[in-house]
Structure formats: structure tokens, C-alpha cells
Amino acid sequence: MSVAWKLAWRYLSGHKLRTTLTTLSIVLGVMIIFGLNSMIPAMERIVARQMMAAVSEVELSVRSVSGSPFDSQSLAVVQSAKGVQSATGILSQLVAIPEGLVRPAVDEYQVVKTVIVIGVDPDTVTAVRAFSISSGRFLESGDTTAVVLPVSLSQKLDLQPGDVWTLPSANGTVDLTVVGIFKPSMPALGTEEIYVPLAQVQSMLNLPDQISVVEAVLDANADKAAVNSAIQSELGSTFTLIAPDGDSEFSSAVQVGQAAFLLFGILSLAMGGFVIFNTFRTVVAERRRDIGLLRAVGASRRTIVLAILTETLLQGLMGSALGLLLGYLFALVLMMIVAPLAQKFLYMDMGAPIITLGNFLVALGLGLGITVLAGLIPALSASKTPPIEALRLESVGQVARKVRTRAIIGFVMIALAVIALITGSFNLAALGAVLFLAGVILAAPVLVRPLAETFGRLLNIFFAREGHLAQRNLARQPERAAVTALAMLIGLSIVVALAGVLSSTFGGFLSYLDRSLGADYLVMPTSLMLGGGNMGAAPGLAAELSQVEGVAGVTTLRLAYGKVDGTDLQVIGIDPQTYPVIAGLEFSRGEPAEAYAALDQERAIIVNGIFAATTGVQIDDLVTIMTPSGEQQYRIVGVGLDYLNAKLTTGYISQANLERDFLTTTDVLLMANAVDGADKSTVGARLTNLISAYPAFTLLESDTFYQAQVNIFKAALAMMYVMMAAMALPALIAMMNTLAINVIERTREIGVLRAVGSTRKQIRRMILAESLLLALFGTGLGILAGVWLSYVLVGAMNFSGFVMQFNFPWGGVLAGLAVGLIFGVLAATLPARQAARLDIIHALRFE
């Protein structure tokens, strides 16, 4: 084993450029996985801290299984249970403070745009929670508009006992008077909590007689398990004595983000694996004499395998270690950049990245694993070579035979893929995409020469003499050229495929936007995430809007949460009469007219595509929804979605059923149409005047909103293109690596060229021409594979309920071409300089 480590270290340190490039390919993948996923626990911690009980005195918490507020009558059940010393009902909600009500902060970087409003009964809460009052007093029985703040918040906003703070309410605004300042037992990591009398919060949120949790302390000698059991039995299965998960919408987004980051990182690592594989294949070929010598003097096959795997392991260790360090720094910088956006749109303070053992081990394991795996085939291949074969050149005949056999299989697969696409069947097309990629990988070495000649004709316009040499160089080592081009192919096919999906999604979502938010006027809440701390409005606002002169009709959306088989379900309440007229859902299954009619007549539900795809439900199936008022069965009457709720499992029911089963009558979004022929700006001015009393809402004309969404999409697309270019970075490293190896191998040949009169500039141009050929080879195949993949992915999204048309990714194709050519030039830079600087005598003597 010491021989293996010694040889590994010596060989690695003897080829610094190659070692650096190979290691870099691993650094990138590990950096992405570790760095991006270090941000996730920080975000989860913020959410978890929001949901924790304020003090440790609370021994029992009762919530509804659905996660929604529930009738306060349940409090009496808990209060009267044996073993319960004291119990109190609490209603709390994250509240976003609209711009007009944001209070200037002492420090401009600590502007408060969100608070958690906690409604408590002053008579009972102090028996369950302890408050350390540092100034003023706590809430008292009889208080109506009092508020108690934590000391940190009072310092940020310069609010002292006696000051008034205006917050949004379902009835417009409410002026709260500060009566006391308290010192929390735990510092808030994100949004701070304020305490207000329960009745006031119930009014602010339009949730009369409702609470979100019952908290209790038990008698000193109470058997907690027995108490829990008795209470659970009394309350029924609608309630749970376990704390619910955090903000489900945010947690879902975080989980999706985590999966996306991991996928992104694994793809980068996979391309890094190509680089390692290519490098070690070349290394094994280069060292055939050394390997033959080792076998001749008695090294076993196992020793040869171990020696090469040790070298890959060392590379993996170096790359992973550096990747972990850079990953943490990357996350730190990224969080510093994202923090203001998170504060503005998600109302969260990000904090610092958190290193978890799990993330560390996953990143390290993947980095090491992929490196060693990539080196395994070359290692095994080296060990199987008999000593005598390793002491002479591999015969061309044998190489040609191996490559030909694989190429035949590859072409057959490509032909089958084309046939599959022509059939028009989506499933076959999907299989065809996989066959195409696999076929190209197998046939690539045979394609090198003809494609090099084809692209070479174009190249020879700019590189007359050097281009011919470049073609010959590539054709001499077709397998190495093919593997390098494949790294480019994979990187670019992903770029183009994602571009196709994004542009199709863009088009699809704009059509949803047209349908579901196409009303003349939108009365929008602060956050587009409907549950994201928006205050909402009591039904009175909708009634007032409909009375405004020039308004033809008003419809609203209401929001509640339930559970289906333990999975969260966002429930949107719509008016089946007015909603289809003013807005509407994009249906993929079911008859719209029948579906809306059913909503009005029975417990019926229209589910969105994600729900239908994940549960496999069909029209007329019954689903059981856990609501605050118990389990209710709803019949599925359609599958459709609207712009705002496409990404969460969502169901649409009538507002009457929402009130009956979920106890909610709060409007979170209102839409209105103008009378035909009315002056829209005049009507808009009247509406603006009306909702000025509701600062939690903003009036937007649909054109303005549409344009704002288009701008957001474009910005997101631009960011995605940048990220996708980053994904192609490992391909760049692969190309640089191959070119550097080529230069070393052809040292003597370059020496001869220089000796017979080639200038340094011509040598550089030869390397550049080779690089561009490789780039064109990989780019051409990558674009082809990418367009195919994007077609398949869009089809898959249609299948999962996101109905959209396939948009040919012109942008992605152009971006792919640009990336390919730029990388072709960049990859040649160092190797070309290296080649041009070779000392002629030294090069001629090179073995």
C-alpha cells in the first residue's frame, strides 16, 4: 500500500497543471452541493424558531390537524381535563406590514416589515407563559387596543409605553397602544413577536371566536401521557397534541430548493467524473511502460488497481477538501447577497450558513465517490493488460475493432431514438431521448473524424494550415476527443433543455396569468404567496367594491389549509358564480361549467395538477379532507390551476363550504371588472380611494400587473441562463484538461514543427483550432440532445398537470452556441501558451 501512496503522490505532483485541472472539476461540484445546501438549514432554522413555544413552561400544545385556526370552544375541553392546571387559547399569525405602514427604524438596515401578532387572553396566559416585563406592564383584562413588545423591537422602532403603532387589519388598520416592553427568554432569529388582546387579534384577522393553539401546564404530579390521551380522546382526530410542521409553503419551497441544489451539484460532479475518467484513461495509456515494468517485477493486478485508485482518491480528497472550504465561503457570500431580498420578499433574516454533519458527509462522499468511480474503469483496464502488452504500443487494429463495435450499437440506438420520436407517442419520445444520449456516447469516437472534417471546413476559413493539423490530432485519439466532447455535450444539453423548459413554462404561465388574473382590476395583497403573512380583508370590502360606480362585478379568493392523508392541502375558496366570469381556472380535466356548478351544489372540489399527479385521483373520486371542523369528504369535479397556486397542492371549493368547514370568510385577493364602456382610469381612481383605508392591499390594473410579472420572469430567466452557464464550467475544465494532455503527448511533434519553421503563433493557433473543433463537436451534439430533452421535459410537465405548449428554445440554442464557442477559445488559452513556449531542443529529446 505504501508503494501505491508513494507512486500516487509523486505522479500527481509531477504534473501540476493536469492535477490542478482535474482537481478543479471536483472542487466545483462539491462546492455547489456543500455551499448551497449549507443555506438550507439556516432557512429551516428560522422557520422552526418561529414556531417554537415561547417559554418552557408550556407542557401541552393543542392544534388542529389541518393547521388552520379553530373554534375556541375546544379550550374549555382542555381547561376541564383532569391533570391540567391551567390552559389558555392563543391566536397568532405572521403579519406583513404594507409599505405605507412601515415605521422608520432607528437603524435603516433593521426596518421591520413583518411581525408575528399573538393574541392572548390576559387572564389566563400568564399562568402558562412567563413574561419578564422591563418597562410598563403586561396586558390586562379590559385592554382592547393594547400591545406589548419585545425590548429589541421597541429599540428598533423607538416605541415606548404610551406610543401608538398602526398595523394592518381585515377592517383596514388598527391603532395599537404600547403598554409594556418585555424581555424574551430566547432572542428572535427572524420575525419578532408582539402580544395583543385575543379579541383584538380575532377582529384584526377576521377570525371571530377562533384560536390557533391551546397551551397548557399540568399539575405537578400529572401523568402527561394519560392527560394527553384523555384530551385527544375528548377532542377527536381533528386535533393534534403535537406541534405542526413550520410554514408549510416555505418548507415546501425549501425542500424543492434543496433537491434542486443537490441535483445541480451532482450534475456538476458527474461532469467532473468525465474529466477524471478522461484523465486517468490517458494516464494509464501514458504509463503503459511503467505499469508493464511494475507487472514485470512482480506487482499483482491488485497492486496496479490500488495504485491508480489511490491516485484518484488523492485527487478526490484534495478536490473535496477545497470544495468544502470554498463551498462554505460561497454560501456565506451568497447569503449576504440574498439577505436583503429574503427580508423584503420572505420577511426572514437569513443569518449565516449552517454546517450540518449530513451535508458535510454527503458532499464529501459524493466528491470522493465520483472521483474513485471515474478512476475505476481505467484502473481495472490497466490491471488486466498483460505485462508484455504494456511494454509495446497497442495495435491500431485492436483499437479500431473495439471502437467500431461500440459505434454500431450506438448508431442502432440513435436510429431507434429517431423512430421513437417520429411515432408521436410521448412515452416513446422520452425513451428515445435516453436512447439518443446513450447512442451518441457510444458512437462518439467514430463520429470524431467525420465531424472534425465537416466542422474543419468551416474552421479552415480562419485557420487554413493549423486547422488541418488540428483535425488530424483529434482523429488520432478519437476516444479522448469523444469523452471531452461528451462533457461539453452533457453540459450544453442541460443548458438548452432547461432553456426550452423555461421558455415553455414562461409561455404557459403567461396564459394562466391571462386567465386567472385577467380581471380589469386586481386588489392585491402584500405578498404573492397568498399565505405569506397577508392580512386579508373582511367580506365588507368586497361588498363595498361592488357598489363603486362603474364596477360590473367583483370576485374574491379566500384561503385555508387542510390535510389529505397527512399531506398539506392549500384550500382556495371561490365564488362559483362570479369567479369564472371575472377570472377562471385553466382546466386540464373536467368540464368547467359542470365543475363550477357542482361547487355551488355540494361538497365538490377542483384540484390542481400537482395534487392530481401526486395522488393519482380521477374525476368523481372522493377525497377526505381534515378541516378545523373535522373530516369532510369532497368529490373531485375537475383538475385546473391558477397562476398563483400552481406549485403547491391546492384545491378550489366554494366560499360557502370554506366558511362551513374551515370557518374562514377572509378575502385575501379581490378582482373586479369595469362596466363595458366605462372610463377605466376613473373607475380605478374610485377603487383606489376606497382601498386606501386598507393599506394591506394595493390596486393594480391588470396590464400593469401583467407587465410586472413578465419583467420578473425575464429577470428570473436571465439569472437561470447565468446559472446554466455555470453548469457548463466543468465542460470547460474537461476541454482544458484534454488540450493540456494533448500538448504534453505531442511535445516532440511540436518540437519538430518548431524546428522546421512553425512560429509560436502558429503553434498557438493549432491548439486553438483543435479546441474550437472539440467545442463545435460537443456543442452541435449538445444542442441536438438539449432540444430533444426539452421537448420531453415539457411533455412530462403537461403530464403532471402543467398544461403548456412546447416553445422551441431559440434563446437556449443561441446561448449554447455562444457558451460553446467562448469555452472553445478559453480552454485553449493555457495549453496554447504552454505549447508555444516549449524549448525546441528539450521538446525534440522528449520521450
Partner: protein
């Protein structure tokens, strides 16, 4: 019993139209303590013979018996062990591992055989000292002259005290002075350290150091000559013989 005996040893490369008969039913014996040279024109099968005797390749027909063991019957693991313990190799292009020092190159066979690093290093230093390279122990191959590199290769070939040393054109890459030095060393390997040597060479001057010369042509043994190394002019006699054949 001879140290090495080949029986109807045959090697064919390629298939069909590209088939090449490199060795054609060769029978020969090498006794313990004997220095045998193999000569012949390019492509006559000299190196092939060496590779088969050394277990670097497998014969198409026939067998190689080394110390009573039929090499063709051994699996790869046992054959590798034979190479490690009973055979030493000296190649034309030295074949030293470029990233290891002279001492590390010499100690390779022992280390691969499981010897402790310290013991192997000490033995390597002893052999390098015997061959006049005590000051070069820690230099890498690219820091040594051709002659020095070949002496390192000889030390590596001898460190495991093999019964048989195989040398494939050991002076082919050296100037005449260095070549004579190496040939003289090989003579010492037989006379002082009691090993047997089978050497392939095209140089009559070097072949004259041997006890016996076998001449190959078209894969067959066409002649053998016994030499008297003490006799002056043996090199000329060998040269005449080569030209006659």
C-alpha cells in the same frame, strides 16, 4: 535438471491474414550459473523468447519450465510471484519508474513482495554500493546518465536474488564504453553472484561476454556456439559467425 527448459515453445501473434509466427517450436536449456546470449536479425523472435521465458507473455504452444515449474500452467497470481522472486529483468530502455529515486526503484521487487520498507531500502543501498552508485541513491532517473540508469536496473534485477536474470538489449541505448561496463557487470553477476543470465543482443562485442550464443532466424534456433570469455578475439569470431549466418 536445467534451470530453464523450453519445450516446443511457439508463439503466434494476430489472426488470419495478419498472423505472424514469432517463435517456431523452440527447444533450449539454460543451466544454473550459465550466461547465454541470443542473437539474430530483427524480427527473428529474440525478444519474444525472452518474454516467454520470463512469464511476461503466454505461449501459443509448448512450455517453459523454470526450476521445475511449468510457467504456462500457473495462474496470473502465481506467475507474478515467480517474476517477483525468481526472475530479474533488465530492459533496453532501463524502464525505471521516473518518479521514484534510484534506491526506491531498486527496492521495488522486495516491497512488492511484502518486505518492510526499511529492510528493502537497506538492501537496495547495499546493491547500489556494490555497483558503484552509493552517491546516487536519492537521485531520480532523469538525473542519472544512461550507464548509471542501467546499473540501477541491474541492481533492481538482482535485489531479490533471483535464479535467472533476463536482459533484453541491455546495452542497446548506451555508448560503447558504458555498454562494455554493463556487459562486464553482467559477467560479474554470473561469476561472482552465481546467477544465470539469458541476454538478447544484436552486438557481437557484447555477446562475446557470454558462455554460449544461440542464433535465431525466423523464429527457429539455427545454431549454437560455445565461447571462451577468457579468449581474446571472441567478439570477432562472433561477428564472423553472425555474418555467415
Amino acid at each position: 535438471m536445467s534451470l530453464v527448459e523450453t519445450q516446443q515453445l511457439t508463439k503466434v501473434y494476430g489472426q488470419g491474414e495478419t498472423e505472424v509466427l514469432a517463435l517456431d517450436h523452440v527447444n533450449l536449456k539454460i543451466e544454473a550459473g550459465e550466461f547465454v546470449a541470443v542473437m539474430g536479425p530483427s524480427g527473428c523472435g529474440k525478444s519474444t523468447l525472452l518474454h516467454l521465458v520470463g512469464g511476461l507473455d503466454r505461449p501459443t504452444e509448448g512450455s517453459v519450465i523454470l526450476n521445475g515449474h511449468n510457467l504456462a500452467a500457473l495462474d496470473d497470481t502465481r506467475l507474478t510471484a515467480v517474476r517477483r522472486q525468481q526472475i530479474g529483468f533488465i530492459f533496453q530502455f532501463f524502464n525505471l519508474i521516473p518518479v521514484l529515486s534510484a534506491q526506491e526503484n531498486v527496492s521495488l521487487p522486495l516491497v512488492l513482495d511484502g518486505a518492510r520498507a526499511g529492510t528493502a531500502a537497506q538492501k537496495a543501498t547495499d546493491w547500489l554500493t556494490r555497483l558503484g552508485l552509493e552517491d546516487q541513491c536519492h537521485r531520480r532517473p532523469d538525473q542519472l546518465s544512461g550507464g548509471q540508469q542501467q546499473r540501477v536496473a541491474i541492481a533492481r534485477a538482482l535485489i531479490s536474488e533471483p535464479a535467472l536474470v533476463l536482459a533484453d538489449e541491455p546495452t542497446g541505448n548506451l555508448d560503447s564504453r558504458a555498454g562494455d561496463e554493463v556487459a562486464g557487470l553482467l559477467r560479474r553477476v554470473v561469476d561472482e553472484w552465481g546467477r544465470s543470465i539469458l541476454m538478447v543482443t544484436h552486438d557481437p562485442r557484447i555477446a562475446a561476454y557470454a558462455d554460449r550464443i544461440i542464433f535465431l532466424k525466423d523464429g527457429r534456433v539455427i545454431d549454437e556456439t560455445r565461447l571462451n570469455a577468457a579468449s581474446v578475439g571472441e567478439a570477432d569470431r562472433v561477428k564472423e559467425k553472425v555474418e555467415a549466418l
